[in-house]
Symmetry: C2
Subunit: 366 residues, 2 copies
């Protein structure tokens, strides 16, 4: 560990943090019960409510990454033996199934081919066939394929006994997501993608009815660390009951990233992501790359792309990293070895990123 | 959030990081599969092996705080219905019981009064009475009382079928701890106490026989996020199978803290902690404060102390924070409302911290 490796991070996350977020990391460390730290957490909860589009009281960052946010929601809402309907059209839908079933839930899968959107009607049908399902989970932005699933078509779940759980890991801050308007009951994301902070925190929000479900549990949450009820008591309840030694360092950085996002305006930031992602996709197609996500269901912040015939993804990706310091991600699952995943997220969602990447690609495949 | 709050952190942790650790936070973010990041994690594993005193291959930092490290060990080693013997003489012994029983284990408690050490013979007797116990867990340094439990008296467990699990949250880096010499099978700690880095990572190490136990499981670990088998495959196995988006930011800081510690030399750092803690305890007693930990079993890095008659702990503690920016912790459990917990850990384990605190206390209680 000598020279500071400096990457342009255009993979599936982390993205390059906003400079303000990096600067905030060097603020002096606060204790996890310091009044200034607890006030900071209240401010972050307010920022997150705006970004999530919610008035949910239980809104907080879990001390972990996106998978910790996912597990916190599933573990806190599902009791052993309860049923979870999961939409699966990519790697992270599969992960939802795995985490839920490890936790003891019975998983009902609703699938679509990778690259295709989940048909909302099939999800709603699955709920009608399983009205006792505790929750229905869907990934808003599939990081493995670049597919945008239509969460806004699932609002009628709120009229059933089934909670709507949404993975917004790649969605939050990068494209439209409206927790209250879309009647989402539980939603989690990450600090290091479209929010423009370093990795380490997983923002989570629960609707009042999700909180009721959690409070009505008869079996305690199996995980102590990821029990959202305990995290609520620590961060948000007036007693601030000690739970774990949360990191003020990461909190400061998340605050700074969110402040920058909200200064720009969340709709403006969505539009910036849409603009640069559109430019990239157009330029890729012109060069013979393929888009894995079907038309009409493409994310702008994450593009999964197959390479033109005759190009070998791994050595080319390694050259991008070694020669130009540009990171893109490899394919996952059935696209491993034959695709890239290109993120334009947060501070890196800039035209400069697009021209840098295209310039490098042209030089390499030229 | 305007002016940068700057504390002298003399509570039960976090402590003030080494300046090198703070500086390292501002290094550019790396992707979680970047070759430079994976090389950094290999370097950190090597540093941790020295600090833990082990040659265990499975040595890595969990992406979470100490409670995540605790839960990762318990969840990865215990299958539902298995028996765990837990030594309980403070808050964190209780937490071990809670985490184990939430996870579905049957807990056998061996208790001692808060402030007293756990009698090793009683722990060994409990194992003889429960030879089928999967593990026996004990807190090396009880952060709630300042008691040092004698882990080195439990080496004979290695000749039984019961694994020895040690909570080294406050111990690691601050006082003698020898994983291999003491035949410890599983041990976890934190970045933010005697290692001198900010919070967010929980170093963990498993002995080969603990790894065997984990690999022989018939039921998958209930937690995906805290499954040490998956974390091994990600960090240490040559395939580096993606698991979660680990934070290079926290890793750089941990590396820098550990480098500073190892430059000084771990025995030298232990001695520094012993020296300043001894000075503090002597000075406290002279002022009429009481030491909660029994003689012969006192930690130097963490002192739990009752206040002289007539002094009200909470307002005095608040004044320390507000007037001097010095944080000490309040009592936990039966000592809530009538004790302080004073940490002298890592970079803050200096004579300057002792004189600062004593000067402030003298000024306040006059």
């Amino acid at each position: 560990m000598s020279a500071h490796t400096d990457r342009l991070l255009l993979g599936p996350g982390p993205s390059n943090p906003y400079p303000e977020a990096t600067e905030a990391l060097s603020r002096p460390v606060l204790g996890h019960l310091d009044p200034d730290y607890l006030a900071l957490m209240a401010d972050i909860a307010d920022q997150l409510r705006v970004v999530f589009g919610t008035s949910n009281e239980l809104t907080l960052p879990v001390s972990g990454t996106g998978s910790a946010g996912m597990e916190a929601c599933l573990a806190s809402l599902l009791q052993p033996g309860e049923k979870a309907i999961v939409g699966v059209n990519g790697f992270f839908g599969e992960r939802l199934c795995e985490v839920a079933s490890r936790g003891g839930a019975e998983v009902v899968r609703v699938t679509a081919p990778w690259g295709h959107r989940l048909p909302p009607e099939e999800l709603l049908d699955a709920q009608r066939a399983n009205p006792d399902a505790r929750l229905l989970a869907v990934v808003a932005a599939e990081t493995s394929t670049g597919v945008r699933n239509d969460v806004s078509a699932l609002t009628s779940l709120a009229d059933t006994e089934t909670l709507l759980l949404v993975d917004a890991v790649t969605a939050l801050g990068g494209s439209e997501l409206r927790v209250d308007a879309w009647r989402i009951d539980a939603c989690y994301s990450v600090s290091q993608k479209c929010l423009g902070a370093p990795p380490g925190l997983a923002p989570v929000t629960l609707s009042p009815r999700a909180v009721e479900v959690m409070r009505a549990r008869t079996v305690p949450v199996r995980s102590f660390y990821l029990d959202l009820g305990l995290l609520y008591e620590y961060y948000l309840a007036p007693t601030h009951r000690y739970h774990h030694t949360a990191s003020s360092t990461l909190a400061y950085a998340l605050y700074a990233g969110l402040a920058r996002l909200l200064d720009e305006g969340k709709e403006v930031v969505w539009a910036r992501h849409a603009m640069v992602g559109g430019k990239l996709q157009e330029a890729l197609v012109k060069r013979g790359f393929g888009l894995i996500a079907e038309a009409g269901g493409r994310l702008a912040q994450l593009t999964a792309t197959t390479l033109p015939d005759g190009l070998d993804e791994a050595p080319l990706r390694r050259m991008l990293l070694e020669r130009y310091g540009i990171e893109v991600g490899g394919g996952l699952g059935e696209f491993a070895g034959r695709a890239w995943r290109i993120g334009l997220m947060g501070h890196a969602a800039r035209e400069r990123s697009v021209v840098s990447l295209l310039g490098a690609v042209d030089e390499l495949i030229g």
